[in-house]
Symmetry: C2
Subunit: 229 residues, 2 copies
């Protein structure tokens, strides 16, 4: 790995388990780290509160950028309160939590902010392993996007995806290695937006499975138990 | 050229000369044409009024999508009223009307809308010939972006750039061939946002040069003269 210690990175921080892990991963590798969080009309506003808390715990500057465009396009479960996240959109065979091009947009706006702040590295927690059918989380998509961004901005931004090929258990191990555990106690995963998490939705089940396979207690569950929730 | 007569296209319509020409170009080639216009905090709101008028004249559905993110990123002349469009940003040697990644974002949102509406073709009026230093208007950028979009959405969207290698005079000739002239009488070009156009800014000069070299009167100028403006 190149020595990036003198460099600056911008981490796309959603407030979830993966992006929180990436934030601490980046803090170990780069001299300066900032976070970018998108307020794009997500159904669960708790994600934004989690991201803010996690950025504070990590001691990094957090940029919160609004995106009002997805809601205007409409028709998907993550931003449209009239659509239930459990139904599948038949036409595409993708889960209807799929916002077309969401990661493309997030990363391009992250690149635009990085460009204006002269930050050379962008870190995102997407993973091909458990991508749930999201094609914009795959390696080949991100490689093409990195090229488009660098051509389109005449930049030399590097896109880092440290979780791309990790299992959820591997990600939990990585989180422990990079010191992300205490921040993970405030991360949000539940598709139902519940705090404490519902424990039943696909996201909760995947998270629990990862911690179980890694043989590590989920600090979120531990914290809530200690707080009597 | 493939027979696209049975297909549907979405044209990115800014209200300017190039996108207006593309709208009528598309109307000649596709069975159904819709327009998408972005309300992204542009300094000159007159562009939005022009785009609306032109969509009406063309008889196409116009989608107006808001993007509040560029203003939040800030620091450029097109969306930031505190920055003058005449200064050059020294650090990048690009004109400071450059919004990093603007076309990447526009085309990705256009693709997201096309995806949800099952439209297979996107048309944009970018041109490498007179790109004024904007790297996101170049052929190689758009090819990379088309790939990223199609990988990221598992789609087969085709991106059309009919003006890519045309001179401004060629574009004027094309506009006449595709019947865009009466709509061009309502198009907006002036960087200063003036109506009638200032005639002095780089955009006005380029437009006038194109019409002069094509040997065709600018219908905008003719209309304004007839109206005594």
């Amino acid at each position: 790995m190149h020595n990036l210690a003198s460099q600056r990175a911008l981490v796309v921080l959603s407030g979830g388990q993966d992006s929180t892990t990436c934030l601490f991963w980046a803090k170990q590798r780069f001299a300066e780290v900032e976070a970018i969080t998108f307020d794009y009309g997500q159904r669960h506003r708790i994600e934004l509160a989690c991201a803010k808390k996690i950025a504070e715990l990590a001691g990094v500057i957090q940029h919160v950028l609004p995106i009002n465009t997805f809601s205007a396009i409409g028709g998907n479960a993550l931003t449209d309160p009239t659509v239930s996240p459990t139904t599948t959109t038949e036409a595409t065979a993708l889960p209807n939590t799929f916002v077309p091009g969401r990661n493309l947009i997030f990363l391009t706006f992250a690149a635009a902010l990085a460009y204006t702040r002269q930050i050379g590295h962008i870190v995102t927690g997407v993973a091909q392993t458990d991508y749930s059918g999201y094609p914009d989380c795959r390696e080949n998509t991100l490689k093409a996007l990195e090229l488009a961004i660098n051509l389109g901005m005449e930049a030399r931004l590097q896109l880092h995806t440290p979780l791309m090929f990790l299992s959820k258990a591997d990600t939990v191990q990585l989180a422990q290695q990079v010191g992300a555990m205490s921040a993970l106690a405030y991360s949000h995963t539940c598709y139902e937006g519940q705090q404490p998490p519902c424990g039943q939705c696909a996201a909760c089940v995947l998270r629990a499975k990862g911690f179980a396979e890694a043989g590590i207690d989920d600090p979120l569950i531990s914290r809530l138990q200690q707080e009597g929730k």
